[in-house]
Symmetry: C2
Subunit: 431 residues, 2 copies
């Protein structure tokens, strides 16, 4: 049994023998790692990403890929050196000569969870040896303001300024600009046509990006990985269909959505039946362009769509920052069979550059295995290193517990690779 | 108090408040990290190194820098992802297109400690997604042989072959060749003039390298770092003098050595006196070109040299592989005030590329604070992550225990930078 340390060896919630798929990926780790290395050499990874996974045991798949991850503060502090090392390489690759990084954050100035994340992100990049300052595009930030955080740390937000073709804050216009704002509110004019290196590029903001594109790229790379290790691509790919524009107040439009839902349910049901999977298919309906936990629902039949009440229809019509939802994605629901303290949990894997740098469980005590867990009431449990024993000198023997987290790192990086293809594709289009 | 995660947060043997020097380095971590980043950009680090440190409390200094480190198996398994990530970047930088790495090991085929190290090193590079095979220059290795290791793993040694200007093993002549053989026995003809990338270069083997050169480079970079953070360079620099050729059987030669010993003792004594350091100066006399724990002695007066008996003189005359010692290095002895389970201990820090990837304590129950610990009877204790608490979600508050290990990572990387200058210098000379 190969021990694979390519991704950190973290404790996962599942106990017991390795599931077949996880074992299969572990057994093919060398081929997988060589493939990723070559893929990311040709198609560089975005600066960072977090990927929500669902592990149904018989299937392990990404359900959301976030290119502007928050939540760095939820990672275990022991993993910090991995993040620092990866950040140094990501910045060196994007902008070899820079000595500074400007971060453009989300506009929330009172969400302390978000601001703690921002502090951690800043600290990671500073620890890599860069000067970091934060330039906000929030119109309420008109002068430098210091925000004290519950952790005891503090953060300075400064208003973002533009000088010619560069953006920055007073006296600081570095070559590297890191977006930690998903641009749900649209492409800010101040960022158009800047000559600095913007990571990730403007086109990857939710104002321009569609999840269906991501999942199309994902299906392509998943198919290639599946061929490499000889598995059915279904085992790692969620069936995804774009539904086009949906007006939740228009019965015809809802009818069309219900038809798509039926299609995905039928396809999934057929597969379950063929392969003796004793589960009831379900479907996730979500905005095709960023949800931030809103405009998302789990349905088990087309009727669930047709019987939506007014409140539910309203909820589905508005996503973050008041953006009206237009296009919808209908995606096969993947059960999460992981629990932490009896509450349902889904793993979220964090990456910087092409490296897995940690993960945590999103846990919801009030939800079930078919629900979206990214909703109010959730909490986080950082994954820590799997302790190999009490004594520090205990080395891992050949019968050591295999790295369950490895499979999660593979699928998360596969989603990262899909995002890399999105970036490549957007660059080709803009030429 | 900045929390610095640039190097892993590991448990060190010292308890109690941070010593002044450690605290000073921690407080200047951002400046230090930016400086290292720029230095290593201009002067790339060797592929790997391990550095022996001594922490006397008032002084923290490197005493040995090994460019062909063994002992990777002594690092804590939790730290493996750091090593894998760093190896991937080191290989990408040296040889962007290679898919394979050939390792040339030491000639011991029966030293299982060494072979376990070799297995771990191979595993690190394989985990980074490269094919790895081992080509031995040991004349006894005439065909591929599989060696079973105590850990349950096994290793295949193959005879190194040369085809034109490339070396390799049957069907495997990759662009990247990694030396894990310190070349004490001389420069192997088979490696001269190869067109592959040899890491580190042939000139850095002990057959061509002198410790005094390393410590001269070290003194230079230490002086610059000391200026940057405004400390006395003495605090991080061991006084080192080359003694030239010493024939331990010739009284005149010993007399000359005794004079140098007196010089270093007097200089150190003066400093102790000026700064109220209540310790007795001592000196380490060692071979100027690799010792492997042999040909090294700790002396407290010139008399110790003049009164050497025949057995001691013989011991000092022969180093590894029967090489006659000629040039000697006389170096200020640095007390080690660290103990593990009441035995004296010195930290050994491992680096790949320009990243600290772990460390362990070398411990010797039969030695004192002035002795060389790299000798029979020593054992190793891997450093593990400093557990921040029992609960995995406990985040590090601003009053969290500071990263004591940070200072060790700084001094070790300073020695690594000195080695990088050695490589640069040897390349310039060979042009």
């Amino acid at each position: 049994m190969p021990q694979d340390y390519r991704v950190p060896h973290l404790t996962t919630a599942l106990k017991g023998p390795l599931l077949e798929l996880e074992a299969h990926l572990l057994n093919h780790s060398h081929a997988i790692e060589a493939w990723f290395r070559q893929e990311f050499r040709d198609t560089p990874a975005p600066f960072y990403a977090s990927v929500d996974l669902r592990n149904a045991g018989y299937k392990l798949a990404p359900v959301d890929t976030n290119l502007f991850p928050a939540g760095f503060n939820n990672l275990h502090p022991d993993l910090r050196p991995l993040a620092v090392q990866a950040a140094q390489h990501a910045i060196t690759q994007a902008c070899p000569v820079t000595d500074g990084v400007l971060i453009i954050p989300e506009n929330h100035t009172r969400n302390t969870f978000y601001l703690e994340n921002l502090y951690t992100l800043k600290d990671i990049i500073e620890s890599a040896g860069y000067e970091v300052r934060i330039g906000s595009i929030n119109p309420e930030v008109t002068e430098a303001q210091t925000i004290d955080l519950p952790s005891g740390n503090s953060l300075v937000l400064e208003p973002l300024a533009r000088e010619g073709n560069r953006v920055g804050v007073t006296g600081f216009f570095p070559c590297a600009v890191l977006l930690n704002n998903d641009l749900s509110a649209g492409r800010p004019a101040i960022l158009e046509g800047i000559e600095q290196v913007l990571m990730p590029p403007l086109d990857l903001g939710w104002s321009s990006r569609y999840k269906t594109h991501h999942f199309q790229h994902y299906a392509n790379v998943a198919k290639r990985l599946a061929e490499l290790v000889d598995i059915d691509p279904w085992l790692i790919t969620p069936e995804s269909m774009q539904c086009g524009e949906v007006d939740f107040k228009n019965p015809d439009s809802l009818e069309r959505l219900a038809t798509k839902v039926n299609e995905v349910l039928a396809k999934t049901g057929d597969y379950y039946h063929e392969h003796d999977i004793d589960c009831k298919p379900f479907v996730i309906v979500k905005s095709d362009s960023g949800t931030y936990g809103m405009a998302i629902m789990s349905v088990q039949s087309a009727d669930d769509i047709l019987k939506l009440n007014r409140k539910q229809r309203n909820k589905m019509s508005f996503a973050k920052e008041g953006l009206t939802v237009d296009k919808m994605l209908v995606q096969e629901g993947v059960y999460t069979f992981e629990t932490v303290d009896e509450a349902v949990a889904e793993p979220v894997v964090y990456m910087i550059h092409n490296h897995v740098i940690g993960g945590f469980y999103r846990i919801h005590t009030g939800k079930t295995a078919t629900d979206n867990l990214n909703s109010p009431g959730m909490h986080f449990e950082p994954m820590s290193f799997q302790l190999s024993g009490v004594l520090p000198d205990q080395t891992q023997g050949p019968d050591a517990e295999p790295n369950r987290f490895y499979a999660y790192g593979v699928i998360a990086r596969l989603a990262l690779l899909a995002a890399a293809y999105e970036i490549k594709h957007s660059k080709t289009q803009n030429r």
